[in-house]
Subunit: 354 residues, 3 copies
């Protein structure tokens, strides 16, 4: 790791205010409890104030408005953002020497930018384009005609198939598959017959795609992942889906064919979205929910089927009272039958109640 | 993509009736809204009739019985089936030259048909058999003794392990793993101890297996995927499962060990099926359902746990009234208590109601 | 597969008591129904007693305390444990010759034990350590500095990234990804910005990891999988999770960041666990459950959200009566209104009931 900085250097780099000795040297970042005097730590959640006061860290990164901790602090405007800068200082992205490993197979007709790197056993097909400073790790496959934008990283075993365009600064984690066939069959005459999947995939800039995640090609036209989208591991994106800018999906989410996920929408882990649905801009869907109809923009939903959060919570709460409710209704039925019986002998005795 | 056909040629190829100029040339297929005068489009769902009437396509593929659209049409018996033929005309399957890439590793004792193709960095073990015209893409691994039938395609990074037999015309998408060990342990004496998984996997003809899908080997005997089965991405098939002919499973479905899925059954995305269960022939299970007991043949179910659709819908509907129901029962209890109190002072005052 | 043993040899190897001819030769293990006179079979579940009595197997492995079956038996203390030994006798682990395949890429600065094996197209980075008798199959990638312990097996396409330590006797099935970045972003100022994921992964001894399963690295510090843990296929383990000794997770389970799964806990298929939660030692969570709060040690839960099993079962049962309950409450409301009306004209007529 190797990083060594004085607190003074960190204050300058982070545009933070230091209230301690600027010559103290730190060699890493650590959480509050794990930090020693060689570490800088951070307080980004006020619930951990006591831990910050007890921490052995040389200095603690905090927001300008945090009350005195009795510890050396680096005060800044947005400590969560500054934490990113701090981690990047200590862990700069690995420098990969440009060039094509002699054990890679790059088609003569492919265009690989001279500053790009292609690892051993990577395969780049004819007509593929690999942009400046792009990094293809070992064992990556980029199909004929596919395009990888500048500064993008494809980790080991990533598969990019034909008619896929990947933008700039995109990160694709190991094992992800971009551009496999969508799941489309006609079964009108018995046996399912495959509908050729002849569309493509468009991945815009600054997207991150998790390990073993799958993004299918469109049947006709493209499956589209807009700029800034972040997909966790083992996510499934069906054919002709469009995911709006900066949307986030946690692990194991599945989006069925032709659905649209709005800008900035956030889907919790294992959420499923049915086909041809729209999840509106900024909507938030809780983990494991099953979305069976459109979700309005900005709305929070969860449940199976997904419902507005307030309604879903009321139902979950009510469910817990359900066994008791059954007993209460049985008791009421007895009491009402008694009252009816007492009311007189007007032929009500045989009256049933379900 | 290079396809160019006159409408007359298309009419002949699709056995369709053309009611326009047979010399007009089209160069692709597009959806109704996206189509221009160089495209042929299609109307396979009557809901899109207005879009068909407004489409700029040179011609529209429709069923014989569709009323006049005021547009040039190609009329045929089964337009969804004909759409498959149409797409195949414009996007014929890529021709892959036969032969073994010099950077593949094929064991001397393997039998690779001279018309088969094996891509770079593919590994074929001793005793493996690769059938006529089969295509192993780059980075595929076929274990010793495994068999791949004629005309099957294994995309990049597919792993086929020992004692796996794959039939003819099978398509396996990137990253799928066929024949990993089933999940079986004995924990009778504390630590879980692995049960050797010594069975195999049988994949019959015309099966399609999605990207990153996993099909485990049997513990003893085979896991079996019958002819025509279509599995989407990220599906899990446990050891000793048998999936019946032409069954369909959407993405992220999980089938636990030793269960049987009937012929033509359809499982929606993220469905889970417990172990040692039977889902009957032709049954349909809705997305995200949790199957915890056998599903009768032909029955539609959904829910968690899965129940017959009509019952599940009634429960979902009733759930939404549950918070109000609680209030209604509380009101009833008050009203009944009042009636009881008014009835007289016969010692009923202290009577509780849960 | 070539194993041939007399029943006498098996009795000796399994420390079992044979009540038949010790010279009879068997060549394999088969389930009760499938077994022929050349097989040994087993009765580990008393429900299959009739099948054992009808089996054609040469001998049946049973517990000491099973009543006479009228068949030749091999009686032992723990037949499920002995079954493992029996299967291992007939299917001994494949011997892989040590050595580095000439088509592998092993960095000069890596340390590969002379008894280890590295398959074709495997990539081992500088500083990586591969222990005694470890087996890296074809197309495996081990990143710079990663460590693989003695006797561990990494199947095809496994990806091990930087700062990952894998213990001894660990089995990693094809396509698993260990050490991809955790899913962490700061979106305080609009666009999500990536939090560098600079921690590692620690996999202790005797762990088994399923095909295409993903275990993310810690943000800071390690994601930890303790000794004896068994993970099935397509499981997702988020950053900084700790999974306790001997815990079991069935396929497609997802554990969100920073949660702790207790020792010996058992999670059914497709279970989801939210972030920063604790599932206690020995807890059991049923398939597809959604864990949204801590689960006490030893407790059995299931449902969405997960609740103690008894409560969840009561709710599921009560749900089925819910549509009828709605009708019963409506009937009660009518009956009470009638009683109230009959009671007299004291201004109660207009009284509503929701």
């Amino acid at each position: 790791m190797g990083g060594r900085f004085t607190l003074g250097q960190l204050a300058e780099a982070l545009q933070a205010t230091l209230d301690g000795d600027p010559t103290v040297v730190v060699t890493g970042v650590a959480p509050l409890e794990a930090a020693g005097p060689e570490h800088v730590s951070f307080l980004t959640d006020p619930r951990y104030r006591a831990a910050a006061q007890a921490s052995r860290a040389a200095a603690i990164l905090v927001s300008h408005d945090v009350e005195d901790l009795g510890r050396v602090t680096l005060r800044c405007k947005a400590p969560r953002e500054s934490l990113i800068d701090l981690l990047t200082l200590f862990h700069p992205p690995a420098m990969v020497p440009p060039g094509i490993d002699p054990r890679a197979v790059v088609a003569a007709e492919a265009r690989v930018h001279p500053t790009a790197s292609v690892g051993p056993f990577a395969v780049v097909g004819p007509g593929a384009v690999i942009g400046a400073r792009a990094r293809l790790h070992a064992l990556v496959s980029v199909a004929p005609g596919a395009e990888i934008g500048a500064d993008s990283v494809l980790y080991e075993h990533v598969v990019v198939r034909e008619r896929v365009r990947v933008g700039r600064r995109v990160i694709v984690h190991p094992g992800a598959v971009i551009g496999a066939d969508g799941f489309g069959f006609v079964a009108d005459t018995g046996r399912p017959r495959k509908i050729p999947q002849v569309g493509g995939v468009l991945i815009e800039d600054d997207v991150e795609i998790g390990a073993n995640t799958c993004i299918d090609r469109g049947t006709l036209g493209d499956t589209v992942i807009r700029a800034g989208v972040k997909l966790d591991n083992l996510v499934q994106i069906g054919h002709n889906v469009e995911v709006g800018e900066n949307a986030l999906m946690a692990a194991q989410v599945g989006i069925s064919g032709s659905s649209r996920i709005g800008r900035g929408a956030v889907l919790g882990g294992q959420v499923g979205v049915g086909d041809h649905l729209t999840v509106g801009d900024g909507a938030r869907v809780g983990a494991q929910s099953g979305v069976a109809q459109d979700v309005p923009p900005g709305e929070k939903q969860f449940g199976y089927p997904a419902r507005p959060t307030i309604q879903a919570l009321r139902i979950f709460h009510a469910e817990e009272q359900l066994p008791a409710l059954l007993r209460r209704v049985r008791a009421l039925e007895r009491r009402v039958a008694e009252l009816e019986a007492e009311r007189g002998g007007e032929g009500e005795a045989g009256r049933g109640h379900d």
